[in-house]
Amino acid sequence: MSQRVDVSKTWKLYIGGRFVRSESGQSLPVKHKRHGTTVHLCKASRKDLRDAVEAATGARKTWGTASGYLRGQILYRMAEMLECRRAEMAEALAATGSATPKKRLEEVDASIDRLVGFAGWADKIEQILGGQNAVPGPYYNITVPEPTGVVGILSPDKPVLLASVSMLAAPLCVGNTTILLAPESNPLPTALLAEIVATSDVPSGAVNILTGSRDELIGHMADHRAINAISAVNLSDDMLQQLRERSAASIKRVRHERLSQPAWSKHEERCSPWCVEPFLEMKTMWHPSAC
């Protein structure tokens, strides 16, 4: 009997609910530490980013107006899907990371718990951050949080999965649509996350995952007027300044934090309403009271 040939996966971009190749035809080679081979991922171009923004803009209506209850269920399903692909995800972490097998599984488990945490916030954020304000007059004064819109996410390479999941789930759980750019040096786990999103009933376009060069895409992300907010951590001072300056033209919200690797494991801090709040707009309404 002839020997079987391995069928290896073609890594693609995840745009508008579809797995697509980069329009540029360029690839992003990554060394696979375990196999000693080179994995080629798609290198997203300016036009792939544009397509992702079109998809994310198109999904604002379905995802942004879905009930918190439904969004919570869908995020919980993402956790379920990640749970049943625990081993596969740990393997992806091994491909480019250096952690021990135990640490890798711990990171996957923490990511699953993070998703469950944000799934819980989806229908509770409104009560926590919104509410009825006290005013000295015969009026009701009510504040309601609404999603900011399309959020671009630049996740760090360590801890790649836990950080990607945390940075994705925070804006997502309250109805923002997202474009996640995987870290260039360690993109495999984030690319695999796309397959988990694709099987979790997330509406097409609500989550888009790109792999590519951050240096090449960050300027286009900042310039694109249909992206309403950008979430990033640990950028170099130069890059952060460039991001802030170019985002100013379209009055984009830029959320940047400096976080050490262990900080991501602190669930209470990294899954708090204050992680979600930067991606909400507060709408306040006055209404005459009955008496």
Partner: protein, 304 residues
């Protein structure tokens, strides 16, 4: 008349080939500006209100409120229902933007001919510069072509000197041969009333109410019919694809097809129009991206 049946496979291949032209930067900019100047900005909804038509007219005159180095052209016309022609007239009078009105029992054409003619006559009386008529598809498909031709003749006589666009509704005709026959029939019927100045008569693909509408192959059939009519008579009939053209890229494909089928003479709003509503905003988005270097958001443009 075409003397042989249309080869559907070759036609579709030829039409698809126009989508593979590489149109970049300066040519693209020129093409987008030209396409914008050819748009018949359209609203044909039961829910149309006078204010919606007014805002559409303002957009037609000045498509974008932002600042740009070379001013953008106005669109060619605003296309509305006859009831709203007087509203459009108030704003567009003297601006160079034409008022087009659908008439003759739009969109089905399934009304007695007397009613349809009165519809057209009243739209012209209200101030329409161009009438978009529908042919009687019921009669055409039943083979009563003489009846269809006679109706076109009567409508042209009624609306003269307003320009006439004859809607074939290609999506209902069934096949390419029928589209070609309807095109020939419409042009010959219009010509038999009296001499046609260039661009006085258009043939138009669709009402925009049914799908498929202005597909590349059906537009190509009509362009070829126009070319043959021009060879035979020396008269330039206009062309208006309508329905389903939402992206700037599709508009450029159509322009490439016009240029290579009819030549540069047709690359003017006098002889070629796009019936569209959302296309205008996509043309603006692409144009301004080239001018300013960054992608624009939907909320940067007024609703069309």
């Amino acid at each position: 008349m075409a003397d042989h049946p249309i080869d559907a496979i070759m036609l579709e291949n030829r039409a698809a080939s126009f989508t593979r032209r590489s149109i970049k930067e300066s040519a693209k900019k020129q093409g987008l500006r030209l396409a914008l100047s050819m748009v018949d900005l359209t609203t044909l909804e039961g829910s149309d209100s006078p204010e919606k038509v007014r805002s559409l007219c303002r957009k037609a005159i000045r498509p974008w409120e932002g600042e740009i180095d070379t001013p953008l052209p106005s669109v060619a016309a605003v296309c509305v229902y006859p009831n709203l022609v007087p509203v459009a007239k108030e704003i567009l009078d003297g601006t160079g933007v034409h008022i087009a009105s659908v008439a003759t029992g739009f969109p089905s054409g399934q009304f007695p001919i007397g009613v349809r003619l009165r519809d057209a006559a009243e739209a012209v009386a209200a101030g329409a510069d161009e009438i978009d008529m529908v042919i009687n598809r019921g009669a055409f498909l039943a083979g009563r072509e003489a009846e269809v031709a006679e109706e076109i003749r009567e409508v042209r006589s009624t609306v003269h000197p307003a320009h006439l666009k004859i809607i074939l509704e290609t999506g209902e005709l069934g096949n390419y041969d029928a589209i070609r026959r309807a095109s020939d029939l419409a042009m010959e019927a219009a010509a038999s009333v009296g001499p046609i100045r260039d661009g006085e008569v258009f043939i138009k693909t669709s009402t925009g109410k049914i799908s498929p509408a202005a597909t590349m192959p059906s537009v190509l059939v009509m362009l070829e019919a126009i070319r043959d009519h021009w060879f035979a008579t020396g008269v330039r009939i206009g062309m208006k694809p309508a329905g389903g053209i939402r992206q700037a890229k599709s508009a450029l494909h159509q322009l490439a097809m016009v240029k290579e089928t009819l030549g540069d003479a047709w690359l003017t709003p006098r002889l070629f129009r796009f019936g569209a509503s959302s296309l205008a905003n996509d043309l603006l988005r692409q144009l301004i991206r080239i001018e300013k270097g960054c992608y624009m958001a939907e909320h940067d443009f007024s609703e069309a």
